[in-house]
Each structure stands twice: as structure tokens, then as C-alpha cells.
Symmetry: C2
Subunit: 98 residues, 2 copies
């Protein structure tokens, strides 16, 4: 299985409504992209200092499945609509034995 | 379920053997900590430029389970032994519906 992981920090000036639109946009997007096997995302719980603010972990059957998601028009539309709330991004794609 | 996600960049001067010891240390640690429900980790696949080098995603039944892992002596020993290969770290803990 291929797991895509991406963390975000939100811009200090981002409005709560825009951050909610970012999160809700991901929730609404996930079931529309058939290559996604599992999609988990959420806000940092605030347990540790210095953390990023938000993370997505998404599983795919193959690298091609991940690339189909990365380049999917529905995904790109969510990014275009919500990226203004993001100030920093960190990502890794890795393989795990399922 | 609580998912702990943490990404690492390796120091540019880190030796391959030390990076392997970091990864293998995590593999050997995971089955020894009973609070871990699922533990996936691995090297970035190199699909995208600018990514971090390594990621861990670990699931726990509760925040207390995560904290038991975070503060577990076996986990702390792995960190102490291998942290010299890490130049940058990014983390998020979040809750997802299982």
C-alpha cells in the first residue's frame, strides 16, 4: 500500500471559516476520487508544542493510484480554492505492507 | 482512533548505516509497546520534490495510549540512540473515526 502523508500550518491571518472550508473541502472530495482506499485527516490535537496544524493520510493501492489523486481535477480544485489558508506544507509518500 | 504522524529530514552528513539503524530501531521497537494499534513507517518514495525523507504513522486507541508511547522508555531509548541523523521534524496528532 502507498500512504501519502501531508501536514499543513495555517496562515496566522487565516479566518476560521476559511480553515473550516479547507477541512470540509477535503471531506467532500475524498469519496469522489475512486483511487483513494482510505482517507484520514484532521486538526492537530494540541498535545505537543511546535506541531503542524493539520494532517492528511491517504492510502492507495499503487503509486499510480496516488498520482491519479495528486493530479485529479477535483483535488486540484480543492487546492486552488483553499490553499490561501496554508503557510507551510510538509509531505512524504511511502510504501507499507498491507 | 488517535493517529500520530511525524516526518523527518535526515542530516545531509548522516551515514547510510546510521539511517538504517534509525529505521530498523523503529521496526524493532513497535511490537514491544502494547499501546500501539498500528505502526507504519518508511522512506519517502521520491515521487515529489521537496518532501521530507521519512515518516511514521502510528494509531492508538486514545490520547493516553499515544502519551504512553511518547513517554515509553523503549521509545525514548530509540530516540536517544538515533536522533543524531535527524535535522528536521514535523508532527501532528489527530483523531479519526474508526
Amino acid at each position: 500500500m502507498i500512504r501519502h502523508t501531508v501536514m499543513f500550518r495555517f496562515d496566522v491571518n487565516a479566518q476560521r471559516a476559511d480553515i473550516d472550508a479547507f477541512s470540509n473541502g477535503l471531506t467532500e472530495m475524498a469519496p469522489k476520487i475512486e483511487e483513494i482506499v482510505a482517507f484520514r485527516h484532521g486538526f492537530d490535537l494540541g498535545v505537543n508544542a511546535g506541531n503542524f496544524d493539520y494532517v492528511v493520510t491517504a492510502d492507495f493501492a499503487s503509486v499510480d493510484g496516488y498520482l491519479a489523486y495528486r493530479d485529479h481535477p477535483i483535488h486540484k480544485e480543492v487546492i486552488a480554492r483553499t490553499a490561501h489558508v496554508v503557510s507551510e506544507r510538509a509531505a512524504v509518500q511511502f510504501e507499507w505492507d498491507s
